[in-house]
Symmetry: C2
Subunit: 246 residues, 2 copies
């Protein structure tokens, strides 16, 4: 049996999801022996740059397209004009249209793909400021390159698109802010995730996948569990899955 | 650019390699944006049962076979006859021949695949005994189902085969025992790995891959790093890799 594939497509928060305690690695563990988790995270990328990658990551002629994908962009798109990261800024309307293009491409790739949109997380401006000072010292700009307000506006747009297109979504911007002390508890530099923040994302993704049809508990193991293999007649357990012995 | 794939083929120590602090997840992070790590670990499996999976996991007609694979069996093969886990026992000579069959199949799959054999880790009999008691209480057998001596004999056989076939190998059985207090420091139940044990395996695999030709530092990113993307002319960075915009 070949396992279905789950692709995590996004920016640095996706790219770093296999660091210690990361949500991507935890997801791979949740779907252990049931689905493969493939990371396609690109630090610093916005939705405009992500469009260049679509045909490579999700080729239309794939014989086995992914069963599910998370689309997790916006943290860079929401970087403010006139500040340090303006190169990454993408106007709000374009952000939404880019997300739409990504979704349409994935649907063309496979009409049955489970697509989950994830909003950018909230921004802890104090944390960003501290991070900038750790990099640039006194030369750090007085105004942070991202604000929580802007991230919230992009998050809202992401949710609206999910609604319009009938997709499932995770409102991380709101979800995180429900936690007392989210600024330091869930974020390590005002933007990227602590292990607790990673655990929260993992939990949300598992929940949404389960609410759709991708529940790990209900999925079969790829091969027999060792406990059902008869030590004297091992072939029996494998024959049921039509597996040829070498 | 499609990323090369690294397959981790083995028993529970491979299956559990994506738990928190696991060596598989750490490897995926080391090769972030450079190679994909695919886990094919089967708890409780010995080499005899692993043979049933070969054609499924490593199909001979694959258009893109893995670039590298770790083969990490033996902990179950070395379970002793006449004790609790004897169902999993595989005689020493057969263990070696099964490993040989696995390697030959992988080489048929791709003659250039980097194949690394990993020996079983040492066994902390006291830890196994404690674990058995935690499961079966007073009914636990007095004699543990695995011994360090037996694991060492299987490890030696694994290394001999690697030598015979000109393959790289990791002598985990010896390596672990170089660490003072390895019994509790590197193993959590006398057999499976603690986070420190996982870190040690990760370090060894990275070292051996690097000594071969699979050095993460020397491999290119799959797509441009965001810092080389011109905000006003993003296409330039992507054109160099012949990437079509959607």
């Amino acid at each position: 049996m070949t396992r279905p594939e789950i692709v995590l497509f996004g920016d640095s928060i996706t790219e770093q999801s296999f660091t210690l305690g990361g949500w991507g690695a935890a997801l791979a563990d949740t779907y252990s022996r049931k689905a493969d988790v493939k990371v396609r995270g690109y630090g610093g990328y916005n939705t405009r740059w992500a469009l260049f990658l679509l045909h490579q990551i999700f080729p239309l002629d794939s014989r086995k397209p992914p069963a599910a994908a998370t689309i997790f962009f916006g943290a860079n798109d929401a970087a403010l004009l006139g500040r340090t990261s303006e190169r990454q800024h993408v106007p709000l309307e374009e952000y939404k249209e880019n997300l739409r293009k990504i979704v349409l491409h994935l649907k063309e790739c496979s009409p049955t793909m489970l697509i989950v949109l994830i909003t950018p997380p909230p921004v802890d401006e104090e944390g960003r400021d501290k991070f900038a000072r750790s990099l640039y010292g006194e030369h750090a700009r007085r105004l942070t390159e991202r604000t929580n307000e802007a991230a919230g506006v992009y998050a809202k747009e992401c949710l609206e698109l999910a609604e319009e297109m009938g997709l499932r979504s995770i409102n991380l911007w709101s979800k995180f802010q429900e936690t007392e002390g989210w600024q330091k508890k869930l974020l390590r530099d005002g933007l990227h995730l602590t292990p607790e923040g990673n655990a929260a994302v993992h939990q949300e993704v598992v929940r949404v996948f389960k609410e759709a049809w991708l529940s790990a508990e209900e999925m079969p193991y790829d091969f027999p569990h060792h406990s059902v293999i008869d030590g004297k007649n091992p072939e029996k357990a494998f024959e049921q899955q039509c597996i040829k012995h070498i």
